[in-house]
């Protein structure tokens, strides 16, 4: 357990010291949110109805954008080889790095998203459910992104391939994420069941993603 923490701590120091990671993801997120009213027109009622979905899509794309940072550096400078020879199985290394990526970029976005919601007239009552749903959903997003990152770690321009591989896996998270972020009161309460399913997905990916990611990494170490 202490080894996982050591790895997470190092990754976090690296992410914050290089600064690029969080900054670019947040910047990308802000651009997407600002583009929406420009593209869809300033109609407040329309924007309000679209706000949760739009914020979720922006979060999802931002996480995907920063996904290749999870293993790329360690693969290129040889650290991954040494970690594969360490006392900790590669699966836990993949898990630790995915958690570090979640803490470094997905979580800050999940916290910032509802606060930026006012830009697209997000209904204030929806801020709390959105924050809760995004907090949970971002775990699944980072873990699934780690599979894509592992599959494309050795490729020169793997960025496009990551999105193609991982977006279909994001469909369920997006569906239940958005329905979990609807404000209470309107219509039947679908927020709580969706939240439960979302957390189930997060837990499932917590277990399954490291297995897939480690297997993909091993094929690149060969």
């Amino acid at each position: 357990m202490s080894l996982i923490l050591a790895l997470i701590r190092r990754d976090l120091t690296l992410a914050f010291r290089q600064g690029g990671g969080v900054g670019t993801a947040l910047g990308f997120f802000l651009t997407v949110v600002v583009l929406l009213p420009i593209g869809l027109g300033p109609d407040q009622a329309l924007l309000q109805r679209l706000a949760p979905g739009a914020l979720w899509i922006a979060l999802l794309l931002a996480v995907l954008l920063s996904a290749d940072r999870i293993f790329q550096q360690d693969y290129e400078d040889g650290s991954l080889d040494i970690m594969a020879m360490g006392p900790m199985p590669l699966e836990l290394v993949a898990l630790a790095k995915a958690i570090a990526h979640w803490l470094a970029s997905s979580l800050p976005l999940a916290v910032a998203a509802p606060l930026l919601g006012f830009l697209i007239n997000l209904d204030p009552a929806a801020i709390l459910p959105l924050a809760l749903a995004m907090g949970l959903g971002s775990v699944a997003l980072s873990l699934l992104a780690s599979i894509g990152a592992a599959v494309t770690v050795g490729l020169r321009r793997g960025g496009l391939l990551v999105s193609l591989l991982i977006l279909p896996l994001y469909v369920p998270v997006l569906i239940f994420g958005v329905s979990a972020s609807t404000a209470p009161g309107a219509g039947p309460d679908i927020a709580t069941p969706s939240l439960l399913i979302l957390s189930a997905m997060a837990l499932a990916s917590l277990v399954l993603s490291p297995l897939a990611a480690a297997a993909a990494l091993r094929s690149y170490l060969k």
Binding site: V151, L155, L161, L164, P168, K222
Partner: protein
Amino acid sequence: MQTLANPARFVGLANAVLPFVWVATIILFAIGLYGAIVTSPPDYQQGETVRIMFVHVPAAWLALMVYTVMALASAVAIVFRHPLADVAAKTAAPIGATFTFLALATGSLWGKPMWGAWWVWDARLTSMFVLFLLYIGYMAVWQAIDEPHRAALVARIVALVGFVNIPIVKFSVTWWNSLHQPASVFRIDGPTIAPSMLWPLLVMGLAYTLLFLALHLVSIRAEVTARKIRQMRLAEIGER
């Protein structure tokens, strides 16, 4: 040598079986089409457009079946390390993608007269679309990694991860669809269809499956030849 363990035996087997499969495919298509176009009655509600079902439903069945074949082949490749299994998965993908594309296209052609729109986010069409993305993603992995051995290792994982997600996507899309739209007006599945419509559908389904088998065997044979050519070229480089 870990090259294709027993390709010669497989190619021999394929050559023996293929003529019969081709003949059976053609016969079944003839019967199926005859049943679909001539004997089965028009639908009391939709009229003639129901006949699109005979090309739409088999394509949808094949789209899912071929991905299952790919996932099974990948699992066999992981467990038994059999290189021919990787080739089977790789060659099945483009065929499966074509069937998925056909399912989407014919579904949209069926939807236009039915719901008045070329694309309707009906639960089955949406999950079929995601399945299409999974196919494209799988094929993109083979494209992106030039060295076949490493590409095979990675593609296996992508196929299995995709396969695990198909039911999840299906469940969430169906649930999402019921949330946003009352159950779609048009529902044809299960034994409710009249027998006169059912047998052509089953025959067409079998014809599509045999076509897949034939195309798959030929593609595997071609891929085995391609790998041999690649190894001969590499050997030449090695000698020089």
